[in-house]
Symmetry: C7
């Protein structure tokens, strides 16, 4: 499920932040039915491309390359060298897939 | 009361989160009376299918396979391989049945 | 004042939660006067039927069988095997009678 | 100033809670002038009739029999054997008289 | 600037609370000009007449007899033996004069 | 940039509070242009004239005589011997100039 | 991407604050297209020109000269010797570029 993201980004998130490259929203269900826009509010998948150094006494759990699930409205959009990423706190990440 | 959930999911919830498969809402009371929709707002039952690694110095109490009771509005819906689950913090779980 | 509650329930409240069986509201005052509904907003009595394992470094104070006083709006209603109970945090309990 | 309250109550407040029997509101000032209702919003006096076991590492300061001053809207009214009391946290008590 | 307050009050504030006797508001400026009411919203001066025992591991800084400055709306009015006082937390006191 | 403030004030701020004498707002820019009122909402400069003893285990960083920058709406105005000062927490101070 | 900022400023931010010189907003995309104003709400880049001493037991991570990314509305504008800067907490900084 986790697609390789070849891009390596030259950015160091501070403390407990991570940079995530969102996967393209899947337009179809497993059975091939096209999902209308209103049905796409569920958490999104992405790939971690950069990880901060963690907070005091709390090392990070996710690592670069992890395919993760995060809330649809988590993080802040940033654009690095023309590509869009999300920068969020590790606590905004729900799970590693 | 706890039904076996054979599905094993390939997901690792972060920190104190758990993934729960909701039981189908019971449509009838013990006496066989059909419950109207407005009466179904009580906590729901489900089965834990994945458990995070816990927070610092706070191991998890629930484990995979536990039948649990949780608030009706707890957690975030996620869909994994076509099936719907809830991902919530352990603190949203009220009790183990 | 504490009535015996013979029911034992098969439920394990998580952490600092307890399950309480509410006593029937007393309809009459000591002098036998019937209390109108608007006068019945005071804390309620109930009997503890299940107790969680406590929080980290904070063992529980109440135990199964204790007759307790709790805020009228404390806890969440749950129904186990057809009977109604309340599940609440120990901090919602005001006193042991 | 503190009147003896002979009633002993059979109740154990939880943690940092205390049970207080409110003194009757004094209708007259020192000079004998009757105070109108709107002037009676100041803190009230009462007598502590039961004291909880304190919170973790924080023993209680007040003890049964203390005459105390507390905010007019502090605590929750409870009625034990026909008499009215207030159950409040020790932090709602302003001073011992 | 600090006037002696001869009254000693028979009251023990709880924890980090202090009892303060407010100085009479100064009606004139240094130059003798009468200050209109709307200009008197600045912090007020008073004299500490009773001091609590402090919170756990935090002894009190002010002591009885200190002339202090406190926010105009700090504390709760109490009346002891016909005289008006304020009971407030030490953190409501801005400075010792 | 920091002007000497010869006034010494007879006041002891409590805990982490400091007393600051505000510099007069500069009416002109470096180039001599007069700044209209609406452009003067930036942080203000002042000189520390008294410093509290700090909070438990947190000594103070600023000291008497420091020229400091603080938020325009920080602190409470106090008047000591006819002069106006501001009393604020050290955390309201942005920087030492 | 990080431009050298030759200006050295004579200011010591308090505790966990940093002073940042904002980079000029880039008016064009990589492909040379001019970005309209409404599209420029993303985090901004700047260069750290002064760093505070950190909070108790929490040394600072960023250092003078770092090119950083921060929320568009982070910090407070200050002007030092005619030039505009932002003073913000380190926690307002998202990443080091």
């Amino acid at each position: 499920m986790a697609k390789k993201v070849s891009t390596s980004v030259n950015i160091t998130p501070l403390h407990d932040r991570v940079v995530v490259k969102a996967d393209a929203a899947e337009q179809k269900t497993a059975g091939g039915i096209i999902i209308p826009d209103t049905a796409k509010e569920k958490p999104q998948r992405g790939t971690v491309v950069a990880v901060g150094g963690g907070k005091k006494d709390e090392p990070m759990t996710v690592k670069t390359g992890d395919s993760v699930l995060y809330g649809k409205y988590a993080g802040t959009e940033i654009s690095i060298e023309g590509a869009d990423y999300l920068i969020m706190r590790e606590s905004d990440i729900l799970a590693i897939l």
